[in-house]
């Protein structure tokens, strides 16, 4: 167990290091921050001096080395764009992204299971077929377009919901939450639908497929033969047995909800980490880009590590080969 864990941990660290290296070698293709940091009246001498001050004249490996050395001491530098420590900026933005991810994840899970069950049980009904057709929209339309369409309908035409922002937030310690105010909750509706729609259709199709599979099993027929209530069969016997793969997929998708909130956050001017990252790219804010990419890869690596550990606990075959290795 410990050997397996250590090996996995080592692999995770290696992945993190490689992500960082790839990120650093990409930054120069994003552009040069100096033009954004100096005004129109800058002279060539100013440009050259700034390049040296920022250390951008050094080799990429050297820059990466310096970044790593400071990062292990907890220093991610100062944002070129905001002039504040990157850690502080990320901590300020994280609650918005995490709350949005949580709500859209919950919505996707709930509606995904409900619709999935319905379309499996009443699969020949008109409503089920309509849901299946509509779900194609969730899979095929780009997030950007869905967001703009929702804004046009619910904010501009109906004037029901706000088109941007987080509404009013309450500060609890270092965490700002939109859950405790009416405007904060209202502001969550459109962005979380936009972000969660794809995941919802994914879960819905998964649940439907699993349910159709399970409903054909002998123990379901036996349950019917026993004269159990339909409700009890559907929920207690069928759904429960479809949940294992659903939970695995949802867990893995949580990482992508956080990472792919970028587009949704841009459309709704949601003050989260995704919007911060987009701004950082446009400004070539290297410290923020580096820290964000490392953070996101850390999230993915951690989730994968946890999943691997769970499999290890569940699957005895892994334990044997792990013990040998």
């Amino acid at each position: 167990m410990i050997v397996f864990f250590i090996r996995r941990l080592g692999q995770s660290l290696l992945v993190l290091l490689i992500v960082g290296l790839v990120a650093f070698s990409m930054f120069r293709f994003v552009g040069d921050p100096i033009n954004n940091m100096l005004g129109q009246e800058r002279t060539q001498a100013d440009v050259d001096r700034m390049r040296v001050e920022l250390g951008l004249d050094r080799a990429i490996l050297t820059q990466y080395g310096i970044f790593l050395k400071k990062a292990v001491q907890g220093d991610f530098g100062v944002s070129y764009r905001q002039g504040r420590p990157v850690i502080e900026v990320l901590a300020e933005r994280a609650p918005a992204t995490l709350e949005l991810a949580l709500v859209s994840g919950a919505l996707a899970l709930f509606f995904g299971i409900v619709f999935g069950m319905y379309t499996a049980i009443k699969r020949d009904s008109f409503i089920a077929k309509s849901i299946m057709t509509a779900s194609l929209i969730g899979v095929s339309l780009p997030t950007f377009l869905i967001g703009i369409a929702l804004i046009n309908i619910f904010a501009v035409k109906l004037e029901l919901l706000p088109s941007f922002g987080r509404g009013e937030t309450v500060k609890i310690g270092g965490w700002t939450t939109g859950f405790l105010t009416r405007s904060g909750l209202i502001a969550l509706i459109l962005p979380s639908i936009t972000l969660g729609l794809y995941q919802m259709t994914l879960i819905m199709r998964l649940v439907r497929a699993e349910m159709l599979e399970v409903l054909r099993q002998d123990y379901i027929r036996f349950a019917w033969a026993r004269g159990l209530k339909e409700r009890s069969i559907n929920f207690n016997h069928a759904l429960r047995n479809t949940l294992v793969p659903v939970i695995t997929v949802t867990g893995l998708q949580l990482g992508s909800i956080i990472a792919f909130a970028i587009i949704t956050e841009t459309v709704f001017q949601w003050p989260g980490m995704g919007l911060l990252f987009v701004n950082a790219i446009q400004f070539v804010d290297i410290p923020v880009m580096a820290a964000y990419l490392m953070l996101i890869s850390l999230v993915f690596v951690t989730i994968n590590l946890l999943v691997d550990m769970l499999y290890f606990a569940v699957d005895p075959r892994l334990r044997v080969s792990g013990g040998k290795g």
């Binding site: 552009g31 040069d32 001498a45 405007s183």
Partner: protein
């Protein structure tokens, strides 16, 4: 029943003060980078700061210089290198401290220091001296007739406040510094800072003790500034009534806003000309054609300029939202004239004859480098130019990239043919000559990517910078413009237009520099 309730809830979220307040909810693509007035020389940053802090002399929306913290200014009779500024009396900072000459000396020195990004604007200052509690003398390195115009975005800070908060050095982002002044404000301006979350929301409340309460409308009592990056969302938020004012309406949305009963659009020619630059040296970056750079031949450059059909670009690409240009100088800059702004009609037969004359009967091919996120419809303009030039046999490959890649590229002279836009904060021709026409060197010509070098012009540029006799100076400037126009190193395209959209109740004059100052807003 449900609708008004939710709308009210959203409105309450955006308002923090009591009912009856005149709140202006203002949306813009970007946010200020810092509140330190000397740490970033960038449009939006200066605009947000200008609601709360003030310079000695401002540029009013009509383009005239306007007394602000200085009431009078003149060149000293005895010494043409000294400007005397008389300061406004009875002005108080937001914390109640009085404004005097010590603050001016301190602020100008701070703005001139090594870490300041504003130092380029006032590089000609040699010394600032207080000659009385409400008088300062500014000595320049040589006579500088346009110093007041160069100081309109140099804001004044309270010396005591800055020193007490250990912010005497402007925030240096490159050195990884954060200072008190980058997140706090103590100015003399019409609005006080209430709260600020960068990239999210900045709230300001009217300073009822403002010295200019009777001079300016100052009708808005509270300003909520929200950056909204996505243009479609920004326009939607205006249409849905969540915003009262947005500055950058995409040209394709103008009709949509105009057709909304409660909204209107105000328009003005912007202080920004857009043009193409040409590499006039002997060597093409992309490799010479038959051993030569065709762009080094003035006949080729003139032919290319003729081939750009400016009226068609204005009509089709800009949907009427531009003023075609014959000179790379915005219309309100000193030195501009109708005569200079004339441009030749596009005459394909004549252009082909000119090219044949220069030895390019069959044309040539070249790359055009263009930003795609900097100027209004920049990439579309370049695409139009590509097809216009192909009509006369010049084959152009378009390379359109983001500004983060584009500007370093032209800065490193890795281009032969590029697009550029240029605004003139001093409203004076000298600024354009200095940065765009002077031979590229350490201190001059930093934006001249054309490799154009004319020693005679260089010495004239230095001469006009020091010429105090305005009549003689104007004559020199006219002469210089005629020279560079003849040399055709830049191909002017147009002057951009600004479109501000707002609730109909506001009366606003659009500022040519796109600097909205809320104190000028009046409400019907």
């Amino acid at each position: 029943m449900k609708k008004p309730l939710l709308v009210t809830a959203a409105a309450v979220a955006l308002m923090t003060s009591s009912a009856g307040a005149e709140t202006l909810r203002w949306g813009l693509a970007g946010d200020a980078l810092t509140l330190d007035p000397h740490a970033q020389n960038e449009g939006v940053t200066i605009m947000l700061q200008s609601q709360m802090m003030e310079p000695l002399v401002s540029r009013a929306p009509n383009g005239e210089l306007e007394p602000t913290l200085a009431t009078e200014w003149a060149i000293k009779k005895a010494d043409p290198t000294v400007w005397v500024f008389k300061l406004r009396e009875g002005v108080k900072f937001h914390d109640g401290a009085a404004f005097d000459s010590e603050d001016v000396v301190f602020s100008l020195n701070r703005a001139r220091s090594q870490a300041s990004q504003m130092k380029g604007l006032i590089a000609s200052i040699a010394e600032v001296k207080a000659t009385g509690p409400h008088e300062v003398e500014i000595k320049t390195k040589g006579p500088n007739p346009i110093l007041p115009a160069a100081m309109t975005s140099i804001f004044m800070l309270d010396k005591t406040w800055v020193e007490a908060n250990k912010a005497t050095v402007p925030q240096n982002v490159a050195a990884g510094e954060v200072t008190f002044a980058s997140t706090n404000v103590n100015g003399t301006g019409p609005y006080k800072l209430v709260s600020r979350e960068q990239d999210n929301r900045t709230v300001m409340r009217r300073n009822d003790d403002y010295w200019g309460m009777k001079t300016f409308p100052v009708k808005v009592t509270e300003v909520v500034f929200t950056p909204i990056q996505n243009a479609a969302t920004r326009v939607s938020a205006l249409l849905s009534g969540e915003l009262d004012f947005i500055q950058d309406v995409p040209v394709q949305d103008i009709q949509r806003v105009k057709s909304n009963a409660g909204l209107k659009i105000e328009t003005q020619t912007e202080n920004r000309s857009v043009f193409f630059g040409l590499n006039v040296s002997d060597k093409l970056h992309g490799g010479n054609i038959n051993g030569k750079n065709p762009l080094a031949d003035v006949r080729v450059r003139q032919a290319m300029s003729m081939a750009i059909n400016r009226d068609a670009i204005q009509r089709v690409v800009m949907r009427g939202q531009s003023v075609p240009a014959g000179v790379i100088m915005p219309t309100f800059v000193r030195g501009w004239s109708k005569e200079l702004n004339t441009y030749p009609p596009t005459d394909v037969a004549k252009i082909k004859a000119m090219l044949a004359d220069a030895g390019y009967k069959d044309g040539f091919s070249i790359q055009l480098d263009c930003p795609n996120d900097r100027y209004i419809n920049d990439e579309a303009i370049c695409q139009a130019a590509v097809s216009m030039l192909s009509q006369v046999g010049i084959k152009v490959n378009l390379n359109a990239t983001s500004k983060a890649l584009f500007f370093p590229q032209i800065g490193k002279l890795e281009t032969d043919f590029f697009m550029l836009g240029w605004g003139v904060p001093s409203y004076d021709s000298e600024y354009i000559f200095n940065f765009l026409y002077h031979t590229k060197s350490d201190a001059y010509g930093s934006w001249n990517s054309t490799r154009y070098s004319n020693p005679e012009l260089d010495s004239q540029i230095k001469a006009i910078a020091a010429e105090v006799n305005l009549e003689a100076r104007d004559a020199m400037v006219k002469n210089m413009w005629e020279t560079v126009k003849k040399d055709a190193v830049y191909i002017p395209i147009h002057h951009q237009m600004l479109n501000w959209a707002m609730k109909s109740k506001y009366t606003v004059t659009v500022d040519p520099d796109n600097q909205a100052r809320i104190k000028y807003f009046s409400i019907n």
